[in-house]
């Protein structure tokens, strides 16, 4: 297996991008990435495009070939990857596998979702398909509803409070405030979170990631030739993935995501690093409770302790572990297919020292965590500077 590096990244601004369609969003991020990687279009061997539900959101399928054409890559193999909200992370992993295996050299990985053209109830229905349609969505159990069931149980077992959950959103909005690509540039307070409209009790609007448009692109190459394109390649030390039942009810516990626990354990083994080596981390905070459960499942905190630690400021920018410096899904926005790739883009910027106002001072090894549905898919990557 060959070592794989990221040689270029690009991101569209996230948010309600009413002026841009799917094609223009992808092109905005893609052009930035191929310029960053210093590659010409004819050098790209293959493309993987992560997107969850473009058919529901804009009536467009077959998006990977569309992405290849929009970026001017002529006739290369283009493959769409769908794993709900983990589509982007899974596309990155497919790109990693294809380069590591030696089948392709230069591979472009994209993630995209254009969600704001449909009414909220349609978007809620489309996202609900990430859970078990027959079991959950057919009874009106929405995606926020599933995370609310997890939050309520976590509160019951560990004494986690709504205020502690709110501190996740406050922190991530603080980070997003410093990120020009983020959907929200507005700091919020615990009190504002607590008083925001209830979506699925105990989760409120400000506990929830928004509906967003956005795209993210990364360019991969074998590490042995990566320096020809970029002075600071970022090596992917680990790329792991695990799955579980689509329905929350068919899992033994609501306070952990087993797929994350398995993928994280494998990732630390593959990268030969441990939790204490990671100082910048992007986790899948689709709801505030999701960040808490992720930090516990990945072994950064013991079960039941991440919420208290977050409320104590142990995960803010430039603390021991800087979590969701991009603003996370909550502050930066969550165009579902784009999120997993955006997390990698943020880590690349952090490790290169290009994150400006939100730069983590000692960023050396970074990690991403991307979840599909209520935990049926979890994808994890660990990355390090390789200059």
């Amino acid at each position: 297996m060959r070592k794989v590096a990221i040689i270029g990244v690009g991101l569209s601004k996230f948010g309600e991008r009413w002026e841009l369609g799917l094609k223009e969003l992808m092109a905005e991020a893609g052009l930035m990435a191929i310029q960053d990687a210093n590659i010409s279009s004819h050098q790209v061997d293959a493309i993987y495009g992560g997107t969850m539900s473009p058919g529901r959101f804009v009536g467009q399928e077959h998006v990977a070939a569309l992405l290849a054409d929009q970026l001017g890559f002529h006739n290369i193999p283009a493959t769409r990857v769908e794993n709900a909200c983990a589509s982007g992370g899974t596309a990155l992993r497919q790109g990693f596998i294809s380069v590591a295996s030696g089948i392709h050299d230069i591979v472009v990985v994209g993630g995209v979702e254009k969600m704001t053209d449909v009414p909220l109830s349609d978007a809620t229905t489309a996202l609900g398909g990430a859970g078990d349609q027959e079991l959950e969505l057919s009874q009106g159990i929405t995606f926020p509803g599933l995370y609310a069931l997890m939050a309520r149980r976590h509160m019951h077992e560990y004494g986690t409070t709504e205020e502690q959950l709110a501190s996740v959103a406050v922190k991530n909005h603080d980070n997003a405030y410093k990120n020009p690509f983020a959907q929200f540039h507005k700091r919020i307070t615990i009190d504002e979170v607590m008083k925001s409209k209830v979506v699925a009790d105990p989760l409120k609007v400000l506990d929830s990631s928004p509906i967003s448009d956005g795209a993210a692109v990364a360019v991969l190459a074998p590490l042995e030739i990566a320096r020809k394109f970029n002075e600071v390649p970022i090596e992917i030390l680990a790329s792991t993935q695990a799955s579980d039942s689509l329905s929350l009810s068919e899992r033994s516990s609501f306070t952990e995501i087993k797929a994350t626990q398995i993928a994280a354990k494998k990732a630390f083994e593959q990268a030969k690093v441990s939790q204490k080596d990671i100082n910048v981390l992007e986790v899948h905070d689709c709801f505030t409770i999701a960040e808490i459960i992720a930090l516990e499942d990945m072994g950064f905190f013991k079960k039941g302790e991440a919420a208290k630690a977050t409320a104590n400021g142990e995960t803010v920018l430039n603390s021991k572990l800087s979590v969701n410096t991009s603003g996370g899904l909550k502050g930066c926005g969550h165009p579902v297919g784009a999120t997993g790739v955006k997390q990698a883009v943020e880590i690349v910027w952090q490790l290169r020292g290009q994150a400006k106002d939100r730069q983590v001072s000692n960023a050396n090894i970074g990690m991403t965590h991307n979840v599909g549905g209520s935990g049926a898919t979890s994808v994890i990557h660990i990355m390090k500077r390789a200059d």
Binding site: S121, T125, E134, G140, I141, R153, A200
Partner: protein, 134 residues
Amino acid sequence: MEKPSASMWRRIKSRYNLVGSICKTCNTVYFPSRTVCRKCGRNTKMEDSTLSGLGEVYSFTKIYTPPEGFKDVAPYNIVAVKMKEGPIVEGHLVNASKDNIKIGMKVKAIFRKMLTEGDEGLIFYHFKFEPISV
């Protein structure tokens, strides 16, 4: 929601009568029913098994932002119930006020109207839960 007709009728045994399945190799009860046992794989021996409908609340929420089709009934209470036979089953909770929903509360399954397809369309039924009064 999507036109629910086909999958509603296909799943009628579980939605009307709480019919799940039991693997006779390992005696694990599943709801809804499934074909392959998670533990036994190719040694699966699956049979229908009807749940008693009795269980305890494992977690709960109240949904204020509904998907398509549920606007008229929102907000509504949802419970995850740990059934006497083992599986966790999610469903609507009726006949309970907000204050008396607690984890550990005993509930039983009942049969109720779920939603109507349009003003004069088909009415869909489904199991729901209600508190067992003590």
